[in-house]
């Protein structure tokens, strides 16, 4: 039966080529625009650590003075060095890492290569295990290396390929900013998007090439990037190489494996704030947050407003295309009243006429979906030509491709409901009489 309906649909669609083409084109354009913008939104609001993000949390505490205080005020989005070190050494979470971004010059041993700058991440030992970074060679440094301010470095696969042709470079020496570091690990490709652990150094398509201990950075006065917010008289002071104690500039992430541990950690943060207040360091009452990774991204509004706006616009466009298709389908189905009347008179039920017309709508939807997928590929290619940081990420993945066809088919079937229902209402006797 389905095959017969398909055959009828093909005949009917062929009979009125212009109208069919118009319907398919409208669906294709609407789907193409929606899928293009939806893919960008999907990529930008994706989970940077699938399977892991549920246990990763970002603690916030409020060490600011009493000036400019309002009751609902959020605590600062980063930590001071003192608090960062205190929380790190307290080690109350399953894993924890304190970190900061920077940029360092690499001085290759091969004279053929000029020195060049790469993005660096200064962090602590748990970073790698907590975020599940894949190692190609070697391993992370240890917590003892952190305290020893070890001259050890983990490098990215890209840097390993650039400097050592992709060979196992563990144990070799890398000159960073004038100091010799020993390579202890080489990461495999790892670029979480968004760059969740430090949104101040680029939200998308940002990745560090070298990772080295935070304490080593402080020891060597390596250059830092990203945000630094101060209050009171804290401005970094003159000639001090680290921000003052009244500046927040470090990110701190923890891994908490169960809801009970999350609650316990929240209590610990409150406790810590009270303790610091008793010591006179904190002035405000405890003001803590413990957001999960995805909550943190949401709180920071990491997806650009323009991208959301474009998605809404595209779906508005799709709505118009669908209304258009409903109108055209109505015209098309009603024109066939005679034929439908004959079928009814010959014994076809309303239900089977309805099914037949919906199959026809479905064919339009499928063809429109193919067109939409092609247009979306073109649209995403255009997006990739732009210079935004996220442009290079705009690719159609299998799940979005499936969405394309589901959306196209679903939308067209929906659009076909009213016209098909109307067309089924024909009174067969009336149609037969007038012909």
């Amino acid at each position: 039966m389905f095959q017969y309906y398909l055959d009828l649909a093909a005949r009917s669609l062929r009979r009125n080529k212009a109208l069919t083409a118009l319907m398919v084109l409208a669906i294709a354009l609407g789907i193409g625009a929606s899928i293009t913008t939806l893919t960008v939104l999907h990529v930008l609001s994706g989970d940077p650590l699938p399977g892991r993000s549920g246990v990763i949390y970002y603690p916030q505490i409020d060490p600011q003075d009493l000036r400019g205080m309002s009751p609902s005020k959020e605590p600062p989005s980063q930590l001071t060095l003192i608090d960062g070190m205190n929380l790190l050494h307290a080690a109350r979470a399953d894993r924890q890492a304190l970190m900061k971004g920077g940029e360092v010059p690499i001085q290759p041993e091969q004279s053929a290569l000029d020195p060049f700058y790469v993005d660096a991440r200064y962090t602590t030992a748990d970073f790698f295990a907590m975020f599940g970074t894949p190692f190609r060679f070697g391993h992370a440094w240890s917590a003892a290396d952190d305290e020893a301010k070890a001259r050890q470095v983990v490098i990215s696969r890209d840097l390993d390929e650039k400097l050592f042709g992709g060979a196992n470079s563990v144990g070799r020496t890398l000159r960073i900013s004038g100091t010799a570091f020993q390579i202890v690990g080489v990461l495999d490709h790892w670029q979480p998007n968004p760059h969740f652990y430090d949104l101040n150094t680029g939200s998308y398509a940002a990745g560090e090439q070298v990772f080295l201990p935070l304490q080593t950075m402080i020891d060597l006065h390596l250059s830092r990037d990203g945000s630094n917010d101060c209050w009171g008289n804290g401005g970094g002071g003159t000639d001090t190489l680290l921000p003052a104690d009244t500046c927040v500039w470090l990110q701190f992430w923890v891994q908490l494996d169960s809801p009970a541990k999350v609650e316990a950690y929240r209590q610990f943060l409150v406790h810590y704030s009270q303790e610091q207040k008793a010591l006179g360091r904190f002035q405000r009452p405890p003001n803590v947050r413990l957001r999960s990774l995805m909550q943190w991204l949401d709180y920071n509004g990491v997806v650009p407003d323009d991208v959301r706006l474009q998605t809404w616009l595209a779906f508005g466009f799709l709505a118009v295309c669908l209304v258009n298709t409903v109108g055209l389908m109505l015209a098309k189905f009603m024109r066939r009243a005679g034929e439908l009347g004959v079928r009814r008179a010959l014994g076809a039920s309303r239900r089977s006429l309805f099914a037949q017309l919906l199959v026809e709508a479905g064919v339009v939807g499928l063809v429109g979906g193919v067109g939409g997928a092609v247009l979306a590929l073109g649209g995403l290619w255009l997006v990739r030509q732009r210079s935004s940081d996220y442009a290079s990420l705009a690719h159609l993945d299998p799940s979005m491709l499936l969405t394309t066809f589901v959306l196209a088919l679903g939308a067209t079937l929906l659009a076909g409901l009213l016209p098909a229902w109307r067309a089924c209402q024909v009174a067969p006797a009336l149609q037969l009489k007038s012909h």
């Binding site: 400019g68 360092v104 010059p105 250059s223 508005g316």
Partner: protein, 413 residues
């Protein structure tokens, strides 16, 4: 011409679904197109914002130092030597050392206060640093006061916080700090304990970023007489002689490398002309303009095509009735005006609904995306456009209808 609306309305009642669909499509199109036009216009205004820089001849070199362990004195000596090397180039008119530049896409910002212990800042300003060549290199328009003297320029090392005693400010900042009054000779505090006295006023001078958060500080900037001798690197803003931009951009890095090889200038984007800088910083605005324009045009085309399709169907359906009317004495233009009027009624209804939707959409955008209220003119233009579009789309099918011969009345089917 006597157009009878009643019979049209009676006929439309027999095509309720089709009529409502066209009206709905018109309404949605109007809502989207009005708001899209408004957004396009705003973004285009962003794209053409004046930076204050004489952009045709100016480019920027991002110069990193390969040896980051040098002292401020060593870096300063290198910077001075570089500036001399650049100024000696035949294609170069002038150059200045800088820590940032207009339209860079973000950078140094300071709160500004009138007293050193003021808690709530008066406003916020973009901070530029440069020497006595800064204004001339960028081609800024000095509207009052004087330029920096060479002896006022001091070296500022890595992460050092120096507050110079003089500053040149943009006119927007001067008027924000000292409304109506002459700001020259007056002082302000910018996150330091010592004041800076305003010695000159330039107009305009764009901020480094174009983010919407800084819209309320638009055009507010200050320039301090500092050579930013950061151990990591420095920007050289260079002004080429008229018409010699390409030559200057080609020769400048060679001259710098010849002066000293211990530097890194990214071969890909280490040197950017202002055209490239502007292109890059407004990428998102431009993307929005293109997308909105394409969608608006396609939307109007689809709506027009939908009207053509449905009206053609109606004409085909009513051939017999048209024939009867013609046989009873209706002229061709009566039939034409019938369909034009019918469309005007449907489009008019759609437009009324569309106005509500357009205003609603705008309110929602204001709520959700901090958009501005849409001026009436966009609605007026949108309504006229859709009425014209409807009439234009219906014209061909209506013309075909008017050519239906009276003899159709006698044919069955």
């Amino acid at each position: 011409m006597d157009i009878q609306i009643r019979p049209i309305l009676v006929a439309l009642r027999r095509h309720k679904a089709g009529t409502l669909l066209i009206a709905l499509q018109i309404a949605l199109t109007l809502a989207i197109v009005c708001n899209a036009f408004f957004i396009i216009h705003q973004r285009l205004a962003n794209l053409s914002q004046a930076s204050g820089v004489d952009e045709g001849d100016v480019f920027v070199i991002a110069n990193y130092w390969a040896d980051v362990n040098r002292s401020t004195e060593q870096v300063d000596a290198q910077v001075r030597a570089d500036l001399i090397a650049l100024r000696q180039l035949p294609a170069v008119l002038d150059t200045t050392p800088a820590s940032g530049y207009p339209l860079r896409g973000g950078g140094w910002d300071n709160f500004v206060t009138m007293t050193p212990d003021q808690v709530k800042p008066t406003t916020d300003a973009a901070v530029y640093t440069g020497d006595e060549h800064f204004i001339d290199t960028l081609g800024l328009n000095l509207v009052a006061g004087r330029n920096f003297r060479p002896d006022e320029v001091t070296a500022m090392g890595t992460q050092q916080a120096i507050t110079p005693s003089t500053a040149i400010v943009s006119k927007a900042l001067a008027e924000r700090l000292f409304p109506g009054g002459n700001a020259l000779g007056k002082s302000f505090y910018a996150m330091g304990t010592t004041p800076s006295t305003i010695i000159g006023i330039v107009d305009p001078l764009h901020r480094q970023g174009v983010d919407s958060w800084s819209n309320s500080y638009a055009g507010q900037a200050l320039i301090w007489p500092l050579r930013a001798d950061d151990s990591k690197g420095i920007y050289y803003i260079v002004r080429a002689r008229p018409g010699q931009l390409a030559a200057a951009m080609r020769d400048a890095p060679k001259a710098l490398y010849a002066q000293n090889r211990m530097r890194i200038i990214d071969p890909k984007d280490g040197i950017q002309s202002y055209a490239e800088i502007r292109h890059r910083v407004y990428d998102s605005d431009r993307g929005m303009v293109i997308l909105m324009s394409v969608i608006s045009v396609v939307l109007l085309a689809i709506t027009a095509a939908g009207i053509v399709g449905l009206t053609s169907f109606w004409v085909g359906q009513r051939r017999k009735q048209i024939g009867v009317r013609r046989a009873l004495g209706a002229r061709q233009r009566d039939i034409l005006s019938y369909f034009l009027t019918e469309n005007l009624l449907i489009t008019g209804g759609g437009v009324l609904l569309g106005l509500l939707l357009a205003i609603g959409t705008n309110l929602w955008l204001m709520l959700r995306f901090a958009s501005q209220p849409m001026p009436m003119v966009y609605l007026v233009v949108g309504v006229l456009l859709l009425l014209l579009l409807g009439q234009g789309a219906v014209f061909a099918p209506a013309l075909r209808a008017s050519r239906v011969p009276p003899v159709e009345a006698t044919r069955s089917v």
